[in-house]
């Protein structure tokens, strides 16, 4: 029923997007696992990991577009939700190392042994169980978004003030996670992972599977976001974005709507982070860096906010450019990123999909 309701509302560009991501989810692992190395059709292991990262970034961008593009909440701290999801997964991966660590301690991860800790902090309880860790990867970002949103939206903090608060939260978390006594590995973070659900993290098949799962998560996130924005609640979100006071006088409790979409978005970002960590093999406090959150905003702006698929596309395009530029002329990347943001703001204020989508694919902007 839900699928039917959704299907009727998809534009051509959105169907193309679903087909492309689903196609990648199948073809990339196939090309990586079955084609011989040296074949034209072979996709290298490094490329699989790179594409997997992009899928996670695309999901993060999608979650940001849901709050920024549709409800006008410019979060400059969405990286925090991504990183928290990543830490939850990282903690599971640390606990499954067990006696294979450098110090061979069955319970304590290496960094705790190194710090002379005698017992496991209560924050690490149950993280040896995958189901609990996966739940935490969603619950912790969701809970942070709930508390933050509860206070901010109830006090009617909006616009640039809200952006500054979200930025401050991610920076504060970065500083907190840097500290060794927080118990999350401090500066070095969590790394040296061995296996996930019994499969070796570095194994080719595991990586191919993680890539496919990331692509599926992106599709799932897209379906959820699309269902939300094309419901009547989606109309209310855009109404809040365009005329918040008016929405309130019609009788909608604006703060509840903002809270709902902010929490949903944070959970999506958490899932993206949880899928990201086993693929890159490390999570450390730099993931909380304000610059990361700002970069995510740029992906969405480039792709086109309020379009969902634009956000995902923007994430992939900007990261592809980053991969290429940081290899070719590393010193130029940050300047290029800044210039890109300025140019997009000046000449493509509605982003790639927002500007060209309606002409090329009949995509209806913000509908």
């Amino acid at each position: 029923m839900i699928v039917q309701r959704l299907a009727g509302r998809l534009g051509i560009s959105e169907i193309a997007f679903i087909a492309a991501v689903a196609g990648l989810a199948v073809l990339v692992p196939l090309a990586n696992l079955t084609m011989p190395e040296g074949s034209l059709l072979h996709v290298s292991n490094a490329t699989v990991v790179l594409f997997g990262k992009w899928m996670c970034y695309a999901l993060l961008a999608l979650s940001l577009d849901l709050v920024w593009g549709y409800c006008g909440i410019l979060s400059l701290g969405h990286g925090a939700f991504f990183a928290l999801g990543g830490y939850a997964m990282g903690m599971y991966l640390m606990r499954t190392i067990g006696t294979r660590g450098v110090y061979g301690n069955a319970i304590l991860p290496d960094f705790m042994v190194f710090l002379n800790w005698k017992e496991l902090p209560y924050t690490w309880y149950f993280f040896d169980w995958f189901g609990y860790s996966a739940l935490m990867a969603m619950l912790v970002p969701g809970a942070l978004a709930f508390v933050l949103g509860w206070f901010a939206f109830r006090s009617r903090v909006t616009g640039v003030y809200l952006s500054i608060i979200t930025q401050a939260v991610t920076y504060a978390l970065q500083l907190a996670f840097f500290r060794n006594d927080m118990g999350f590995g401090g500066n070095n973070g969590l790394t040296d992972f061995k296996d996930i659900l019994g499969f070796q993290v570095q194994a080719q098949t595991t990586r191919a599977t993680l890539f496919a799962l990331s692509a599926l998560a992106l599709l799932g996130g897209f379906a959820a976001a699309k269902a939300i924005v094309s419901s009547k609640l989606g109309l209310v979100l855009i109404a809040i974005r365009d005329a918040e006071t008016r929405t309130r006088f019609i009788g909608y409790r604006v703060e509840h709507y903002k809270l709902f979409v902010f929490v949903v978005s944070a959970v999506m970002a958490g899932i993206a982070g949880a899928l990201y960590v086993p693929q890159v093999g490390i999570i450390n406090p730099s993931e909380f860096s304000p610059a990361n959150s700002i970069e995510a905003v740029i992906w969405v702006a480039v792709g086109g906010r309020g379009t969902l698929i634009g956000a995902a596309l923007g994430a992939v395009l900007v990261n592809a450019a980053k991969t290429w530029l940081t290899a070719a002329i590393p010193t130029v990347w940050l300047f290029a990123l800044g210039a890109l943001f300025i140019l997009v703001t000046l000449f493509l204020p509605r982003g790639i999909v927002g500007t060209f989508g309606s002409k090329l694919f009949g995509h209806r902007w913000s509908k």
């Binding site: 939300i228 419901s231 009547k232 609640l233 109309l235 209310v236 855009i238 109404a239 365009d242 005329a243 006071t245 008016r246 929405t247 309130r248 006088f249 019609i250 009788g251 909608y252 409790r253 604006v254 509840h256 709507y257 709902f260 913000s366």
Partner: protein
């Protein structure tokens, strides 16, 4: 509030004062609107008309005074905007504010009387009943041909009408209408007066307006505000003859 006040009035304001940085926007304002009544409120700029609307709709908290709704059942000074809207007070702003990137129909759909909380809204579906209500509204505000136009593309007068339509869609007991004919042509002004009279058959209405010809056209009881309190009240002919009213407002 010391227990419920007994009043027959739909809207009851007494001793309401609001000051901003020492400036008294409302000064011991008293106003009674009977159920089913249409009232016109006039007054020079700064008389407190918009502040009065803000107090009634919960946007501004009064420093002192009682603001009661529906026979004294609800103390509006303790409720927020959304609650007051749900109780049945709808407001049209001075500057027409519609949701510009939504179609005309979606604007009305959002305003339609329906559960306002998050989850019922998420799962809401279009029903035949909803469509019938929308058709009725389109007939009233005469925007049927613009149904799928983005509201941002409407003319100024059409936006005013859409906003009145959104008010009606909420089906409030009391409509507060702030300067509905500002920027309208004479023909549109006349039609708006007719529309408000039609609406008044089933709703109570408070109209704030500068345009005296329009107020005369409405033919209802007039309250003149000046410096945050009531200066005179009566028919348009009575208040136009009042010497103090002439001094502060009409004579200038």
């Amino acid at each position: 509030m010391n227990g419920p006040k007994t009043t027959e009035a739909l809207l009851y304001l007494d001793g309401v004062s609001v000051s901003f940085d020492g400036f008294k926007a409302l000064n011991q304002l008293a106003l009674l609107i009977a159920p089913g009544e249409m009232r016109a409120i006039v007054g020079p700029n700064g008389a407190g008309k918009t502040t009065m609307m803000d107090v009634i709709t919960g946007k501004t908290r009064p420093d002192t005074g009682d603001v009661l709704f529906d026979g004294g059942q609800h103390d509006l000074t303790r409720l927020d905007e959304a609650t007051i809207a749900e109780l049945g007070i709808g407001r049209k702003f001075q500057k027409p504010t519609v949701f510009e990137s939504h179609t005309v129909e979606d604007n009305l759909r959002l305003a339609l009387k329906a559960p306002r909380s998050v989850f019922p809204t998420l799962t809401a579906r279009r029903t035949a009943e909803e469509k019938a209500r929308l058709d009725e509204l389109f007939a009233t505000v005469k925007l049927g041909s613009q149904r799928n136009t983005q509201a941002g593309g409407l003319s100024h007068g059409q936006k005013q009408w859409l906003e009145i339509g959104m008010l009606l869609a909420q089906d409030p007991a009391l409509l507060l209408v702030d300067e509905p004919v500002a920027g309208m042509t004479d023909a549109e002004t006349f039609e708006t007066a007719e529309l408000l009279k039609r609406i008044n058959r089933t709703h109570s209405v408070v109209v704030v307006e500068h345009d005296m010809a329009f107020v005369r056209e409405l033919g209802v009881k007039v309250t003149v505000l000046h410096e945050g309190s009531v200066l005179a009240e009566g028919t348009i002919d009575q208040v136009s003859a009042d010497q103090r009213v002439v001094e502060v407002y009409l004579g200038r």
